[in-house]
Amino acid sequence: MADNLLEVDAIETCYGLSQVLFGLSLQIKAGEMVALMGRNGMGKTTTIRSIMGLTPARAGAIRFAGEAVRGLPSYKIAKLGIGLVPEGRQIFPNLTVRENLVAASGNRLGASDPWTIEKIHALFPRLAERTSNMGVTLSGGEQQMLAIGRALMTNPKLLILDEATEGLAPLIRDEIWSCLSMLKGRGQSVLVIDKNVENLARIADRHYIIERGKTVWSGTSEQLIAEPDLQHKYLGI
């Protein structure tokens, strides 16, 4: 399947001796928005860490943009065009807001209309007000905005958002969702983890549900909405 941007095939990942992922698979096509769902501790973040090479998978295969990336160092994977908004924000505390953005900036893949600091500021006016503050002094939500802005600044082929709306005010959260819709409209591929099933069902194309390190269900938004049982069984709604 050549048109898959990302292909994860039966990966297994461990933290030290404890295995977390047991043969997990998923695919993302170019231009698609895919959601990863599951309860706390089921391995969503670990999946992403494996894709990025931060916690390398021990077995299985990962292909991104036609290249086998399992085993590559994370910077090489990122260079192929993945932008990450990590869990827990992980902004650089000792850099200013502006420096956080500049450090990440790059348009390796030559996007025609790349993200710039001005555009990020337009998306998050709050960041414009804090532009020369140290990262460490930002409020939780401001840090989250910065983390999203930083990932966008890399102008990625695939944007990965791990709980990117955590701690954001409702208004901003809505902003992010509409921004994601807009991105999707421009053909951006996105992998998103979020607990807001309603919004995910509204804008994502397909969904994977993870349970104990395996994908236990996958399907389109229509299928997801059509099966309330599923949500109850795996997500507890």
Partner: protein
Amino acid sequence: MVESLLRVDNLVRRFGGITATDNLSMEVVPGELHAIIGPNGAGKTTLISQLTGQLMPNSGTIHFGGRDVTGLPSYKRSRLGLARSFQITSLLKDFSAIDNVALAAQAHDGHSFRFWGNARKERHLRDAARAALERVGLGKRADIVVSQLSHGEQRELELAVALATKPKLLLLDEPMAGLGVTESARMVSLLKELRKEVTIVLVEHDMEAVFALADRITVLVYGRVIACDVPDAIRKHDEVKRAYLGEQHAVTRHG
């Protein structure tokens, strides 16, 4: 008029050019669950930190239980019955979950200048800790080292630690953040129970939870209180809608 448990008068805190807390006054009465909401960077965390003493205000006063605590360091306030959870998880990463909670229990069980007996064998501390863990749903994960818990579990542990200090006033900074849907629901019902025992100040961006739980809501914008009222009034409050909620949440009802 009920005697207030916590009273804040004209609190000001500046960071360089920013006024994060701007002449803020508010009151929390015993037994209520008082929610604080507001846009990102409105100064909610800064306020909580001043209440618990991690940050000192530039001016203004804080009274807790009728006593002026403005100048007290955080450990003393904790002993008076002020407990908090941190927005950005702050735990003893290399300790097991139960050790984290037991230490909190120990803090309120007389002084800790005891150099001899094995603290991990003190029955009542361990029991209290286990109970708190059970309460937040971490009973089975007691012996796991914190760094190996998932993000959501760590959020739950934050609450257990705060609970173990047997506080009079519990200050929760975004306890739902990072919790899955199931866990959020569990947290809401846990808070519903807790509020019967302890006064709670809740900072949260999860509006469903806030409207379901709060007796009163204070709304902060740029460090100032723009509204303080019961949930229904806040929901309709124009300025709040504009600054924070947006249209969608003004109409959503919690089911």
